[in-house]
Each structure stands twice: as structure tokens, then as C-alpha cells.
Amino acid sequence: MAVRVQAGDFDLGAEVAGLCAGRVDIGAVVTFTGLVRDLDGRLMGFELEHYPAMTERALAGIEAEAQARWPLQASLIVHRYGALAPGDRIMMVATVSAHRADAFEAATFLMDYLKSRAPFWKKETTPGGSAWVDARETDAAALARWSKGS
């Protein structure tokens, strides 16, 4: 169970290999990787601001919540900050479990929580200037579904 916040890039394969190293009780590993996308060819890049004193604490809290809900054998959140260009990796999560349904659900949950509760803000730069990215309403809705009675 680990959380890292860093300016530099990460290596998905190495991170997953590290989570599984020396273990034979793992059946399923699910990963999500978020990338800087430029859908209309105008994005020059963005700056990812964060709140250092809170970021790792918030991510660790989200991870602990996932561990309480699903039987995870390991999990990892890596999130970058600073200047990123189109195509760059922004962040990853990985969830490790004996069974695939748990790994898939926990990874989806981590992403939904992280989007709305981890203190990061994106400022995009295009030829027209720089602007803060608005939060998406679908992200708030994605978060809300996890608190429905079940």
C-alpha cells in the first residue's frame, strides 16, 4: 500500500512488477494510467498545481478507504505535478487482489475518489492563453455512486 507524489515520470511495468515481486498469492492486477490528452490539437501543455502538505495525506486516505472496502493484497497511487506536455503520463493507480472483480472495482473507486478529492488543479495552455480546467460534473456523479446504500 503506497502513495507517491512526484514531478518525474513513472514506469508502469516496473511499478506493477514491484507490487507482485516474490508473491504467488496474486491473481489479478488492474492498473489505470491517466495521460495528457489533446483532443483538438490546440493544447500546448498544462501545469499541475497541488497542495503538498495535503496531497499524500489525501491519497493515503483514499487508498485506506479502498482497502477497507475490498480485499486488496496491495495498491499503489502515483501522481505527478508540475509541467506536463500532451501524451505525458499524469498518474497511475494499481490494485492487486486474488480476484479480478475486486481489483477492477477498487481501481475504479480509487480513480473516482482521486478525481474529486485529491488536491490537484490543472491549468491548460493553448495558443489563446492559459486557463484553469473546470471540474467535470460527471466526476462528482462518479463519486456519489459509491455512497449509495448497497
Binding site: H50, Y51, M111, L114, K115, A118, W121, A135
Partner: protein
Amino acid sequence: MKLDVLYFAWLRERIGLPRETVETEAATVADLVAELRGREERYALAFSDMAAVRVAVDQDLSDLEASLSGVREIAFFPPMTGG
């Protein structure tokens, strides 16, 4: 009491600084916001739409009703857009 008040993203830009120490007797976050709004136009502007502002109290997400008793650090920022 003395509070560290932090601003992020467009709140930081509108207010023009990333953090400041505030001497206040405000009882809740809402009281603190009212006090800051009364200071200068840039604060009034930054806090003009509180539906677009989130708050963390001592690094935990919280809300306007939260008490400031014993608190060291308050942060104001827009809805998060990480991930």
C-alpha cells in the same frame, strides 16, 4: 488566534498570494471568509461564489460550517481536477 491561510489555483491568482498568516477571532470557516471578503476587493472577488470554493481544515477536506477552534491551517481552492 493566528491562522495560516493558503490559496490554490485561481483563488491564489485572484488574491495574489499563495499563503498568509491571519490574526482572527472568527469562530468558523464561514466567519473567516466574511472577514476576508471585507478586507479588500480582491478577496471579495475570490470569494464571490462560494459554490466554486472548497476548503480544507488542517489538510482535511471540510466545509464552511467547520469550527476554527484549535486549527492551524486553512486552505481555499476550486474543485479538484487531478487524475
